[in-house]
Each structure stands twice: as structure tokens, then as C-alpha cells.
């Protein structure tokens, strides 16, 4: 045995780390389709149940089974829920990636591995725990073909013991996970206990990481953004939903289907909604427009490739002035790109989707709560402004688990915009569909089926005058396009206002949106604590931009626009909208490798641009 070799105890003391409580991240490396997902959820919930702020991020491949997957759980007493680059505690179950995973760890990190992988010799500066999973799982799980799955629950037990999680909470979490399937629950509990027992008996805790009870999660919920968007849509009174499956958007509609079946079917067994899986995205958006034209609150959900396919129809919606709510759960890259990675790359393509002079209202939720609330705001805006509205979520928000306050019940009544009823027509006698009666650029519409001889109008994507009659007249075309512009200007003051944090003194402003927000919350603390750099912050929540955005930029010397795409797309929209005098202030910070943006990357970039 080489003399250089040292035991974990010495190592720990040599590194002489003080205890790290409720502030570290744990990563489970495995392969997809192996059922590790439920094990990881159990770990997440156990910590959550102990009152410790926690977040989980799943990094999975674009296939169905057998490829590497990493699940990272971050516990943060300070409540930071953005991705953290460093992994403190690795559970290495995947032979294919184990070596590289271990190599990429920082000194002092802990590694829990499947005995056969035999990793301990790889590095001297890590703490290793070896566990003979197969040996442990065999006795508790007689059925051989189930072992592959149950094996995962064994590491849950080991981790619970090592990180000082409460085994009672662990069991509660497991039983919650398997719900009515009691036998499965029992099986998994015993597997976890086997792991717990082994750890207690044969492993010596020598890493500094542990979890202690707090009370920062009481009353909170854990949910993914797609489910939140689904809930929000249901409570917004959606009636027609069309979709075509695509990662990472599918689960939004699939969850919505479950909720609607449970809560939107009358006593007579009849549905107060129609959800249709269309043949493709062109059909999905076409159905949405047809339904909205006929008066339904209709929506669809998709991702990049679907957005591109919706280009022609979305232009029709803009020009005919038909409401539509289109969710874009953004994924990475041009074309098919990386379907299971996250990005904010569709900002430009949605804002200006379609040919000719076309532009659209776009909302940018940053949290599961905003997925819920903006689902409703999107419908109200779409119907009030009679135009398609995009909601730009992303894979990180849509498919990962986020801790959140429970959602607020919508306080405002549903706003359905300017629709003339039979009675209105009796009173008015007639109407001009595209006339700017109120000076806000928004005309009045009627719904097919309105029983009045004057109700009908001709909806068309070709040139038309105020009365919706076909027209090629230059003056008709120009005045219609100018009205559409007025309508868009009106929207500025009706879309969700930005979130702003200003101390009134600092010269540095930061603008972010969507999921980048969480990295900013943490990064701004880092900049303050580590560099004494005070920053103001504005989070964009909608396009077209509210006046506040202009003022925020005007009132700072340097403004960093942080986003998750290559081409600085939000910065581009700002350049098109801000006074030229302001533009020299803008600086771009971009993170676009497909992983959720982290605070450290932002801090390093801004600090270096600040020349500190």
C-alpha cells in the first residue's frame, strides 16, 4: 500500500473544513429510464419537509432510456434556488460517466458510489463512500427484475443517513411518492432502510455536509412551471386547447388534461372544454385561431420548432386581429438543437414572428407563480387586444421542480375584451369591425352565431377597410396599419409591469428576465458581499416595454442585460425601443450552453466588465 495513501478521516481534518449545514448541492449521476427520478424526488421532498429551502434540476438526454442523466438537488438556507455550478456531494451510479463526474469535482467534495465502480483511487482530495448496492437490494427485493428500480431507493437511505436527514421524513416522502400503491411503497421503504442501515453500520461520516431542520418551507408547495401554467390556464377559464407533442412543452398540456378532467367536467359528465391533439403545429395554431374567432379562450403550447411552423398563421392572427395564447417552452438552439436543454433563444422570433410588418405581445414568466398568473394575464391581453400573445417559459422553469408560495386565487374577473352582443347591435344598428372607436386602436368584434342580421363580418388576411371589406386602396392599408401600431402602443401600459429593485444610489443597473432572475438574485448578493458592488435591478416581464424600462435605463450609467442566448436577443429588442442616447449604456451578459444560468457566471462576467 503506497505511503501517500490516506484515509478519509485524515483527509477531512487535513482539509479541515468546518461543517457545512443546509448550504450545498448534491448530484445523482445515473442513466435515464432507470427509475431514479422517484428516488431523487424523495430526497428533494425529504429536505423540503425538514423546512430547508431546496431546488432540483434534472439534466436529461434527448432519448428514452439508457443515456446519462444528472439530477442536482440544492439545499440553501438563504433560499437561493438558481443552479449552482459546484457539486459538493456526488452519488455516482453511472459507470459511463463516473470517471469524468469525479474528475470534475472540487477538492473536498464527497462521492457516494456503487462499489463495482471502484472510484476511490481516482483522486486523493475527495471523500469516498463505497456502497455494495446489489448486495443490499437483493434481500429486500426478491423479484429480480424490480431490483434495477429499487436499487435507487437504496442510495436515498444512504444519503439520508450521511446527510443527517430525518428518516421519518424520508419514509413519509416515499409513501407520498407511491400514493395508493402500498406494496410498492413498502418495498421502497425497506430498500431505503437497508441503505440507511448500511450507512449507519459501515460508513464513517467524514464530509462536512449536513441538513438541519429549519422552518423556511412551511405552507410552501413544490411544482414545475408547466403544471403551474396548466393550473393557471384552467383558472383563467380556458375552453379550447390544441397541441402537438414536443419536449419540453408536452407536460403542460398533459397536466392540463388531468386537471380539466378532474375539475372541469360537469355533473352531467359533459366537458366545459375541448382539448385536441392536432396533427402538427400549423393545425394547432389554426385551430386556436378558429376557436378564438368563434369566441373561445383558446391556447396552444409548443417549443422552438413549433414556433417556426406557426409563423404564417400567427401573422394571420395579427392582421385579422384574433386572440390566441401561445406558450413557448424554450429549448436550446436553432433547428432541433438540444431538445432537453434550456435557453431563452426565441425572444426575437416570437416578438416578430411572421413576414411583413408584424409584431406580438410577449410575456416572460420567471417563476412557477408567474406561470400561474401570466396564464390568466395572457388570455385577458389576447382578448382585450384581439391579438396573439406569447408566453415564453423555458425548459428549466417548465420541467424542473420549484419551491413556491401557494398560488393566489385570481382576484379580477375574466376580461373578454370588446365583443358586441345581439343587444349591443340592436342598440347600435351596425358596427365597423376595424374602426378605432375608442382611440386605443382596438375595434369591436362580434362572434359567429350572434343572432343579429348585422352581426356578420368578413374576417380575412388580405387588405381590408374599417368595415372588413376587401380593399387594396393605399389609404385604407396605411390607416389600418397605423391603427395596429396604436394598438401595440396602447399595450405598453397594459402588459405586466417590470419588477424593479432600486436603491436610488447605484450607477449599475441590471436587466434580466425569465429564469435568469434566480441567478441574478444570488449574483447581486455575491457582488455586494464579495466586491462591494451595489446594483439596481429590473426584471422585464413583457414586450412591448413599459415606460419603466426606459426610465430604469435612463437613470443608470451602465446597464447589464443578462440572458440565456447567443445573440443577445432581449438586448436587441431594447436597442429597437430605447432612445438612441441611452444605448451606449447597454452591456450584454450571455450564458447559452444549455445549462440553467448560475450566479457565479454572471458575477464573474459583470465584475470583469466593471473592470474590478
Amino acid at each position: 500500500m503506497a505511503t501517500t495513501e490516506i484515509g478519509p478521516k485524515e483527509l477531512a481534518s487535513r482539509l479541515d473544513r468546518k461543517q457545512v449545514v443546509n448550504d450545498f448541492s448534491l448530484q445523482v449521476a445515473t442513466v435515464n429510464g432507470s427509475g431514479s427520478q422517484s428516488a431523487n424526488t424523495v430526497l428533494l421532498r425529504t429536505i423540503f419537509q425538514m423546512g430547508v429551502p431546496v431546488s432540483g434540476k434534472n439534466l436529461f438526454p434527448s432519448n428514452i432510456a439508457g443515456l446519462p442523466t444528472w439530477y442536482t438537488i440544492r439545499a440553501s438556507k438563504d433560499g437561493y434556488i438558481a443552479r449552482r455550478k459546484e457539486v459538493d456531494f456526488l452519488v455516482a451510479m453511472n459507470p459511463e460517466t463516473a470517471q469524468e463526474d469525479v474528475k470534475s469535482l472540487n477538492p473536498g467534495a464527497a462521492v457516494l458510489y456503487d462499489e463495482p465502480l471502484n472510484l476511490s483511487s481516482l483522486r486523493q482530495d475527495l471523500i469516498f463512500y463505497s456502497v455494495p448496492f446489489d448486495k443490499l437490494v437483493a434481500p429486500v427485493c426478491p423479484e429480480a427484475k424490480l431490483r434495477k428500480l429499487v436499487k435507487n431507493m437504496v442510495y436515498v437511505g444512504v444519503v439520508t443517513q450521511l446527510l443527517k436527514l430525518d428518516p421519518a421524513e424520508m419514509e413519509k416522502a416515499i409513501r407520498r411518492q407511491f400514493g395508493r400503491k402500498v406494496k410498492a411503497a413498502d418495498l421502497n421503504v425497506s430498500a431505503a432502510k437497508a441503505g440507511f442501515g448500511y450507512a449507519a453500520a459501515s460508513l464513517t461520516k467524514s464530509d462536512p455536509f449536513s441538513i438541519e431542520r429549519m422552518d423556511k418551507t412551511s405552507g410552501k408547495i413544490i411544482i414545475d412551471g408547466n403544471s403551474a401554467g396548466a393550473l393557471g390556464s384552467m383558472f383563467a377559464g380556458v375552453t379550447v386547447v390544441t397541441w402537438y407533442p414536443i419536449t419540453p412543452s408536452s407536460s403542460l398540456v398533459e397536466t392540463l388534461i388531468d386537471y380539466m378532467k378532474e375539475y372541469r367536467i360537469g355533473k352531467d359528465g359533459k366537458a366545459t372544454f375541448a382539448i385536441v391533439q392536432a396533427e402538427d403545429e400549423l393545425a394547432a395554431i389554426g385551430m386556436v385561431l378558429g376557436a378564438a374567432w368563434a369566441g373561445a379562450r383558446s391556447m396552444t403550447s409548443t417549443s422552438g420548432p413549433g414556433i417556426s411552423l406557426m409563423a404564417e398563421f400567427t401573422g394571420l392572427g395579427y392582421f385579422v386581429e384574433v386572440p390566441a395564447v401561445i406558450w413557448d417552452i424554450q429549448r436550446v438552439g436553432p433547428s432541433t438543437g438540444l431538445p432537453t436543454r434550456t435557453a431563452q433563444g426565441d425572444v426575437l422570433s416570437t416578438a416578430f414572428l411572421s413576414h411583413g410588418d408584424t409584431k406580438h405581445i410577449v410575456l416572460f414568466p420567471c417563476s412557477v407563480t408567474e406561470c400561474f398568473t401570466m396564464a390568466g394575464e395572457a388570455f385577458d391581453l389576447a382578448e382585450q387586444f384581439q391579438t396573439p400573445v406569447f408566453v415564453l417559459s423555458d425548459l428549466d422553469l417548465g420541467m424542473n421542480n420549484w419551491m413556491s408560495e401557494p398560488f393566489p386565487y385570481p382576484d379580477k374577473p375574466i376580461r373578454r375584451g370588446k365583443v358586441l352582443s345581439k343587444e349591443d347591435l340592436d342598440r347600435l344598428g351596425s358596427f365597423a369591425r376595424y374602426k378605432d372607436v375608442d382611440g386605443d386602436g382596438i375595434g369591436y368584434r362580434t362572434l359567429p352565431g350572434t343572432e343579429h342580421p348585422a352581426a356578420a363580418y368578413f374576417a380575412r388576411g388580405s387588405g381590408h377597410n374599417e368595415n372588413a371589406q376587401y380593399s387594396e386602396r393605399p389609404d385604407d392599408y396605411v390607416s389600418n396599419m397605423e391603427r395596429l401600431n396604436r394598438k401595440f402602443e396602447t399595450a405598453r401600459s397594459h402588459v405586466p409591469k417590470p419588477e424593479m429593485v432600486q436603491n436610488g444610489k447605484s450607477k449599475v443597473g441590471i436587466i434580466a428576465y425569465g429564469t435568469s432572475h434566480w441567478a441574478l438574485v444570488e449574483s447581486r448578493d455575491q457582488m455586494r458581499k464579495e466586491y462591494g458592488v451595489e446594483t439596481d435591478y429590473l426584471r422585464i416581464r413583457a414586450f412591448p416595454f413599459n415606460r419603466d424600462v426606459h426610465e430604469f435605463v435612463a437613470s443608470h450609467d451602465r446597464v447589464y442585460v443578462v440572458e440565456q442566448n447567443r445573440d443577445a436577443q432581449m438586448m436587441a429588442l431594447l436597442k429597437l425601443d430605447l432612445d438612441a442616447a441611452q444605448l451606449a449604456k447597454l452591456r450584454s451578459v450571455r450564458h447559452y450552453n444549455g445549462l440553467p444560468i448560475d450566479a457565479r457566471s454572471v458575477t464573474d462576467e459583470i465584475i470583469s466588465q466593471e473592470g474590478r
Binding site: 375552453t239 375539475y263 400549423l282 368563434a294 385570481p410 359567429p448 363580418y457 368578413f458
Partner: protein
């Protein structure tokens, strides 16, 4: 010799008390003699005679001369002139929102068989309850006469170009895919087209009618297989089509064997006096075979090829509330506070 007192004649009204004027549309901007105009006329007649309330009708269409025609009939009905080849999805959406609407979609052969074949296939498959009319002239009229996917092999353009690809038979397709009332007619055959349109209005399910409708400007010449002359010469009616609406309880005598009587969903009757003895319009496999043969023989078969009045429609499968989804009140579409609390609890 007795003299009868003269009375000022009242304009004829239909069963809901409307005159035919109330079914008319704007002045056509299509070419004089265009088959599409004749079809618009027949639609007006059928809607008037069936007493369809104009406010309940919607007229979705795609893009093309044909797709413009909804502007030339039934001004009191809503129209949606959508994008090229994608009318079916817009129509589907509208019916999802309000299943009480009566939908008559107008498309062209290019709009349907070329760019639109994908949505066409899926709409037929859903047996969406609506009338889908293809005003079929074998060319793209509005873009000045290029061949569409229904052009026959050997058909010649004025320029002399000859089509060398087989035509898509939209009727066979529709039958194979699930449409439940399928036939072909000719804009020049007033009687047959009118009867087929009325039955289509009575039908509950997808009624797909391919109506040969010559383009006088680009495809009505010698050598065209979609010209008035060629169609007249090769028109092979399968049956004599007549229609007895439910509200006219005339008792028409039934000649066993010689005629097929189909009682439609609304109680009205579609009467087909057989010209071809053995043809059975309720047998899918047979009808597909017969159409394939007609195609080989180069006949233009017209009439009702297939009808099944009882198949479930897409709206039936969706099982939505009787009130249109479009106008359900907030109290119905927004679940209660308790429901939200329940959902939140499950996530804690």
C-alpha cells in the same frame, strides 16, 4: 270568361320566413362564366330552401379564387378567409368553440389537394361535422393557371405543358379516411348539385363534395380534362339524386331495388335512383373499388359515392356541454377557491 282580381305578388319566403335575397352575397369579382359562381348560386338556393338561419352559418375558406367565393353568397353569415391550404384547422377550431354553428367550408383543388392535403386528411379522419366543398378546376386559378394535384395525367395547359403526374382523387381519399358523406358533382349540373348540397346540409358528419368547376380563363380549352365540354362529355352519374327534407312530409313512393333511400340524421331522406344497378353507397370497400376502376376507365363518376349517417362525429367524441364553449360564463369555466386550495394542498 271570368276575370281574377290581380294581387301584388309577395316575394317567396322559406320556412323561417326569409326571402332568397337574405341569402345573397356581394357582387362577384370572379371571371364571368367561372364555375365557382354557379356553385355560389346553388349554395344560396340550397340554404334558402333548407331554411338555414344565416346567422348560424360560418363560411371558412382558404386562399384562391374558389376561396374568395364565400364573399359572394350569404352576407349575413360570418366568413373567415384564412391562409392557403389550412382552412380545415380554422374550421375545426370554430366548431370546437361553438358546436351549434353550421359550417360550410369552401376550398379549391390547389388549396385542398396540393398545399392543403395534410389538413384535409386529418379533417376527414375526424369526421368533423361540416360541409367541405372543393371547387375543382384542376389548376391554380388565382396564380394564373398552373396545374394542381387534381389535374389528370395528359391534361394540357394553354401553354402546351402536359401534366404527367396522377391526380389525387379527393373522394376516394375522403371515403378511405373517414368522411361520412362523399360525392362528386359538376357546377354545370344544377339539379344534381342542389340535391347533393341539401343532403349535405342535412348530414351530421363530414360532407365532402368535390365539385368540378371549370376555370374559363385558364383551363377550359381543348385538351383540358376539366373544361365544360370534357366534363359534360365524360360525366357518368352513378345515380339520380333527389332529396326530401324532414320538414316536407311528402310521401314519395319507394321502388324496391331501383332506388336506395338513406334516412339522414335529421329525419330527411336522401333518395338515389340507381343508374348502376349493383352500386351500394353504404359499402366503403366497394365504393373505393368502383372509384379506382372509374379512374382507370377515365370516367368522371358523379353522384353520392358513400354515405353513413350514423357514424360518431368529432364533436360527439369530445362530449362537450350543450352550451357553446365560446360563451360559457366565468362561473362555469373558473373553478372555485376551494378547488385551488385543494390543488395547492396536493403540492405541499
Amino acid at each position: 270568361m271570368a276575370t281574377t282580381p290581380t294581387s301584388t305578388p309577395q316575394p317567396k319566403t322559406n320556412r323561417i320566413g326569409l326571402t332568397v335575397i337574405e341569402y345573397k352575397g356581394g357582387k362577384t369579382t370572379l371571371c364571368a362564366g367561372c364555375g365557382h359562381n354557379a356553385i355560389s348560386e346553388r349554395i344560396i338556393d340550397a340554404m334558402f330552401e333548407m331554411g338555414v338561419p344565416p346567422e348560424r352559418l360560418i363560411k371558412p375558406s382558404g386562399i384562391g379564387c374558389s376561396s374568395k367565393s364565400p364573399a359572394y353568397f350569404m352576407n349575413r353569415s360570418h366568413s373567415f378567409n384564412a391562409v392557403h391550404g389550412r382552412m380545415p384547422s380554422v374550421a375545426t377550431g370554430a366548431l370546437l368553440a361553438n358546436h351549434k354553428l353550421i359550417a360550410l367550408g369552401v376550398s379549391g383543388d390547389g388549396d385542398t389537394a396540393s398545399i392543403g392535403i395534410g389538413q384535409f386528411v386529418h379533417m376527414m379522419r375526424r369526421n368533423l361535422p361540416m360541409i367541405y366543398i372543393i371547387e375543382d378546376n384542376g389548376v391554380y386559378g388565382l396564380t394564373k393557371g398552373q396545374f394542381s394535384a387534381t389535374a389528370d395525367i395528359g391534361s394540357k395547359l394553354k401553354s402546351g405543358v402536359i401534366n404527367d403526374l396522377p391526380p389525387i382523387d379527393t373522394c376516394s381519399l375522403a371515403i378511405m379516411l373517414g368522411a361520412t358523406y362523399v360525392g362528386r358533382s359538376f357546377s354545370g349540373d344544377k339539379k344534381q348539385l342542389l340535391a347533393m348540397l341539401k343532403a349535405a346540409i342535412a348530414h351530421n358528419g363530414t360532407a365532402m363534395l368535390d365539385v368540378i368547376s371549370p376555370c374559363v380563363t385558364f383551363n377550359d380549352h381543348e385538351g383540358s380534362t376539366k373544361s365544360y365540354k370534357f366534363t359534360k362529355d365524360h360525366d357518368e352519374p352513378l345515380q339520380e339524386v333527389s332529396f326530401v327534407p324532414a320538414f316536407e312530409d311528402i310521401d314519395v313512393e319507394y321502388e324496391a331495388g331501383a332506388t336506395v333511400d338513406v334516412s339522414m340524421h335529421d329525419g330527411s331522406r336522401l333518395r338515389l335512383r340507381k343508374i348502376e344497378e349493383e352500386y351500394d353507397p353504404t359499402n366503403k370497400a366497394e365504393s373505393l373499388k368502383r372509384l379506382a376502376e372509374a379512374h382507370d376507365k377515365g370516367e368522371i363518376l358523379t353522384g353520392v359515392f358513400y354515405v353513413n349517417p350514423n357514424a360518431p362525429t368529432f364533436m360527439a367524441l369530445l362530449n362537450v356541454t350543450d352550451d357553446p364553449l365560446a360563451t360559457l360564463p366565468e362561473s362555469v369555466v373558473r373553478p372555485s377557491r376551494q378547488v385551488l386550495e385543494e390543488c395547492m394542498e396536493e403540492l405541499r
